[in-house]
């Protein structure tokens, strides 16, 4: 039982510093990436959905909504992007639930690490899913003839915005995952939140065509603001108040749900 190295943290402290917290979260993100490498099939939803939806919706609704497919794409691509990325965010809840049912979370809890690290790490690892969605959506759009006005710079800014937003929103689903009793239940609840949010918005159709109540909801829906912000940047090269509203919305969600999730995680037996 002789080991050469002594423990790295020699000083006993009841606090975890911000530095340690970030470091530990990144290590947990690395764990998440290792898991993705072991089970690449878990990326199938974020791979197929953007391709399938872009093709399907484009050729299905293009003519009806914008006269032809080509004119519909500037409207559709941002919508698909947001829809697919938020669908990808839902998975975090289910994954966390499954993960927490395994014994390994007991070990994380009994280790002297920041409480938020296992959660933040899992969510950080998920950004690879969002990046994949973003790339595939734009690639499919490109093949269908979509050439954004603002080119690569616009796409980059939009990608950062939508991935950050999804990361903030994923804390909502993480909370569902932590408090939920079974993976199937979490999946159900998450879908109930996701579908109205994404479909009752301006993601696929112009809001003006909606009945009064739906129109009202679609206009206050944060997803609509995000979609509009993306369209404005990518098609017209302008940053409108919708951009700032989306940033604010994301931050508010993060500030509310991240502490709630960590609290629920800490108290979970």
């Amino acid at each position: 039982m002789k080991q050469t190295n002594d423990r790295a943290q020699l000083v006993l402290s009841n606090q975890t510093s911000l530095n340690q917290t970030i470091r530990q979260s990144l290590i947990m993100a690395y764990r998440g990436l290792l898991k993705v490498r072991r089970t690449p099939e878990q990326l199938i939803d974020v791979t197929l959905q953007p391709i399938l939806f872009t093709l399907m919706f484009g050729y299905l609704f293009g003519g009806a909504i914008s006269g032809n497919v080509h004119n519909y794409l500037p409207l559709l691509i941002p919508g698909i992007l947001v829809q697919s990325i938020l669908t990808g965010a839902v998975t975090i809840g289910v994954q966390l639930r499954e993960d927490m049912e395994k014994g390994v979370f007991d070990r994380y809890k009994s280790m002297p690490i920041a409480r938020i690290a296992p959660l933040a790490g899992a969510l950080l690892a998920d950004t690879i899913r969002y990046a994949l969605v973003t790339i595939l959506t734009f690639a499919t759009g490109y093949l269908m003839g979509y050439r954004p006005e603002t080119g690569f710079a616009g796409i980059l800014l939009v990608s950062v915005l939508v991935i950050s937003f999804a990361w903030c929103v994923s804390w909502i689903f993480a909370l569902a995952g932590v408090v939920g009793r079974s993976a199937a239940g979490v999946q159900g609840i998450s879908m109930m939140i996701l579908f109205p949010l994404t479909f009752l918005s301006n993601a696929y159709v112009p809001v003006e065509t909606l009945p009064k109540v739906l129109k009202w909801f679609a206009q206050i829906n944060p997803v609509s603001h995000l979609v509009t912000a993306i369209r404005e940047i990518i098609n017209h090269g302008v940053i409108t108040h919708d951009f700032w509203l989306s940033v604010l919305g994301g931050l508010v969600i993060l500030c509310v749900f991240a502490p709630l999730t960590v609290r629920a995680y800490r108290n979970k037996v």
């Binding site: 039982m1 423990r7 290792l34 014994g103 809890k109 009994s110 280790m111 002297p112």
Partner: protein, 336 residues
């Protein structure tokens, strides 16, 4: 070395527990436990399924908050100084607490990194532990292909990365085959020779007997007996006499014989076997002769070392829950 650091607070006491209580609804899983565990010993917590062993361990390892009571690990309060306590303990759970989707190598590397070791130190540490626990060949295989014993060993290895002075082992050999069980015992023994304090829960008296310096017997959330294994076994009797009769109607007579010769009361255990603690093996001859004289025919005779059930019988007067139900059942069928 680093051991000095925590031992300055109170060198002789590793764990101190006062009036610990935890309910789950109406079920008082832990019902007022007091413990004092000396540093450098193996402390066995012995009890049947559902006695509250795991709950107590989860509280001490800060996974769960108690409803009442307090506990200190090397002088640090589990409630107010949780993060310090977590630096002093290693937990090996009843169900292996390792990452199923990763390899043994990756598991140990990630735990090492989380504990603050650098990349190269983590790799070194991982290699050392894999070698020590005989997992080198399986290091890169996914855990799904691991046997129960390999999983437990990996789990134990993961608890030892930071060389914690206190190690919790929750039923470390439950579900293991006899050979792996003895391997695990040897590993635990070498841990102690390294100076660690170990708290071990188990359902098996022989396991506690093999490994522990002190044993606390717990039942329904309460400590019902404490002492060294020798003291405990002495309270039960050195061995147990088991008799099975051909004619079931003669059990009551046999019981009277035992009472008069061994001066103890016999019990009907499961499967209609009459058992009685045996303080002196010499007395068997007397019992068997007396039965022969009364023309009671035996189908089976055996002398066994005491089991947890007998410890329970001796201490509480009732058997461990499940067995107790069965024995009343067999008693009533016998009477028919």
């Amino acid at each position: 070395m680093h051991h000095k650091l925590y031992n300055t607070i109170n060198p002789s006491i590793a764990v101190e527990v006062h009036g610990l209580v935890k309910h789950f609804g109406d079920n008082r899983a832990v019902d007022g436990i007091d413990l004092q565990i000396p540093t450098g010993t193996v402390y066995g917590v012995l009890g049947p399924n559902g006695a509250g062993k795991t709950t107590a361990l989860r509280i001490l390892s800060t996974l769960m908050k108690p409803d009442k009571g307090s506990a200190k690990i090397f002088g640090h309060d589990i409630l107010t100084e949780g993060q310090i306590v977590r630096q002093l303990i290693g937990l090996t759970g009843q169900y292996a607490s390792v990452d199923e989707k990763l390899s043994a190598n990756e598991n140990l590397y990630i735990f090492s990194r989380l504990l603050g070791f650098s990349r190269s130190d983590s790799r070194k540490k991982t290699k050392e532990l894999l070698e020590e626990f005989g997992l080198m060949e399986a290091a890169t295989r996914p855990l799904a292909k691991f046997s129960g014993g390999m999983r437990r060993r990996l789990d134990l290895a993961a608890s030892l990365i930071s060389k914690p002075p206190l190690i919790f082992l929750d039923e470390p050999t439950t579900g293991l085959d006899p050979r792996t069980r003895i391997q695990m015992w040897n590993t635990i023994r070498s841990l102690v020779s390294d100076g660690s304090t170990v708290i071990l829960t188990t359902q098996y008296l022989d396991e506690a007997d093999q490994l522990a310096d002190h044993i606390a017997v717990i039942d329904r959330g309460k400590v019902i007996a404490q002492g060294t294994p020798t003291q405990l076994k002495a309270s039960v009797g050195a061995a147990t006499l088991e008799l099975k009769l051909i004619d079931k109607t003669e059990y009551e007579i046999a019981k009277t014989v035992i009472q008069s010769l061994l001066l103890v009361e016999g019990h009907f255990s499961s499967e209609g076997i009459l058992t009685a603690p045996l303080s002196d093996p010499e007395l068997i001859t007397d019992v068997l002769l007396a039965l022969r004289n009364r023309n009671i025919q035996l189908s089976e005779v055996s002398v066994k070392t005491p089991t947890l059930d007998e410890v329970f019988l001796a201490i509480t007067g009732h058997e461990t829950e499940k067995v107790a139900v069965e024995s009343t059942f067999s008693l009533t069928t016998n009477n028919k």
